[in-house]
């Protein structure tokens, strides 16, 4: 039987994502058992799941190790993988925003120092505004950068804004809304379009009913 390999993002979001697959009729009970297994399959439904680091989902899908997967729009915009983005799951909803200390005023006569984990998204955003910037790529604790004078602003994911507020920062501009997306490898879609669409349509129906 032809299997569809699904890369799920590890963590709480991933568990919620699996629930959608389950509710859409592509359950795999063994995934909820406490075991050391790395892949889980339901041969009757022709589906095989595996957990990967959320930022790696797009790589697994782009390189064809997974036919489909669920990745955040932030990862898709940052790494621009060559994949189809079949469905917005309306989960993990947040936004990519520019944040800065409350008293920040943008001095357009100077290069703007921007600290971020999302260099590509930040570069594209400011290129669209024709603003000269200096990107400081950081891997974590982004909020620290403006506090210590490393940067003028940060570009980061904002969910509730609570962490920013606790560090004396406020979101100034929203760059793009973010949510989890169902993605597909292009070659897999070419060979397995019927099965992938069957999964996508069932998930779409569930997501729509849930949100209505």
């Amino acid at each position: 039987m032809e299997f569809i390999n699904v890369a799920l993002p590890k963590g709480r979001l991933g568990e919620k994502v699996y629930d959608i697959f389950e509710k859409a009729g592509f359950e795999c009970p063994s995934i909820k058992e406490n075991s050391r297994k790395l892949t889980f399959e339901n041969s009757e439904k022709g589906i095989r799941y595996f957990w990967v680091k959320p930022s790696d989902v797009a790589i697994y899908v782009e390189r064809g190790a997974a036919d489909i997967g669920v990745a955040g729009k932030d990862i898709l915009l940052e790494y621009e993988p060559d994949v189809y983005e079949l469905l917005d799951l309306h989960m993990g909803v947040c936004r990519m925003a520019v944040a800065a200390p409350e008293n920040f005023r943008d001095d357009k006569s100077k290069t703007l120092k921007v600290a971020t984990k999302f260099s590509n998204i930040a570069s594209n955003y400011y290129a669209g505004l024709c603003r000269d910037i200096d990107i400081i790529h950081l891997n974590g604790s982004i909020e620290l950068a403006p506090i210590l004078g490393l940067s003028d602003v940060i570009v980061d994911i904002v969910e509730t804004g609570k962490t920013l507020l606790e560090n004396g920062l406020v979101p100034f501009e929203t760059i793009v809304p973010i949510s989890a997306r169902l993605i597909s490898n292009k070659a897999s879609y070419s060979f397995k379009a019927n099965k992938i669409n069957e999964i996508k349509n069932a998930m779409e129906e569930y997501v729509r009913n849930k949100n209505d």
């Binding site: 060559d82 189809y84 469905l87 917005d88 292009k186 070659a187 879609y189 379009a193």
Partner: protein
Amino acid sequence: MINEKLLKNEELAVYRLRELYSSFGYTQYKMSKFEEYDLYVRNKDFLISDRIITFTDTNGKLLALKPDVTLSIINNFGKSVDGIQKMYYNENVYRVSGGTGKFKEIMQTGLECIGKISLYEITEVLYLAIKSLQLTDSNFSLELSHAGLMNALLSDVGISDKIMDLVLQSVKLKSTGACEEMLKSGKLTEQQFELIKAFTVNYSDIYSFNKAFCEFINSEECKKHFDEFQAIISGVNFDEFKGKLTINFSLSSDAGYYSGIVFKGYIAGIPTSVLSGGQYDTLIKKFINDGGAVGFAVYLDNFERFKLATPEYDVDTILLVDKNDKPQEILKTAEKIKSTGDSVLIQTELPQNIRYRRVVRMEG
């Protein structure tokens, strides 16, 4: 006679493809590894990536390692083409790999048909693209689109330039979410949204394609492109391929320089496309006065991962000899083994890292 067992996957593919293209009268085009950098600067839009390896020649000219073959071929024609020129090539190109972001040498083979091309030549090139995939593996898939038809349809329903990028991006990603938002906010009409949705679907038979688009074919321009597309896909017996050929408009929105048919091929087991091509009249008009062009490239860099011809053994027979055996006797025995069709490796003791089918000892 070539022993195909000795060829690597990509070499075997090149051999078979050259045989195919020659049999249709295409002649081989050999070119230099370098090209003046200026050619690529002037035609950046045609390149997949504008990152190119450059160096200065001894006379001070800035040269580039070829990132693309088609530009070099059409650049060498001059301003006019005599009739229709059909040629194929097998060259290495140097591009940034999407996965690693580093430069990579890619073996590429392909063909170009340039000049006063007609419906027949376009169909022939598409037919050869299908045959190229078929020769490599029976489990293939070819996706087709028509850039002219897509542009005409979008223009007919009145998609404005302001939202065109977003619409094309939605078609490319097969994602209608952003367009649904625009429909809700009144930036798109119901008809425009229905057309965009139709573009995101794949069609594996002509009937369902016609059904989805017939209501949008109104203007002369649309009809012209629609009829041409129909004639091309009928010309290669689209429906007889039973699901191996698919109409997929996501291709067109990804390749700005194509003016007519666009296609991309896949082979099961390789996660990226292995063949890509189409009709590029807009580009060719920058180089020659009168004519069009159609062609495709087969990317062979992924073929080494393809498990087409992985042999079970590195060598068929190990011939074990010792220091007292006479060289002429060893060679005679080796030739005898080879005459049975086996490969032979002569060793004094059994090697550790080689897979072999049998061991033969020299008779003393």
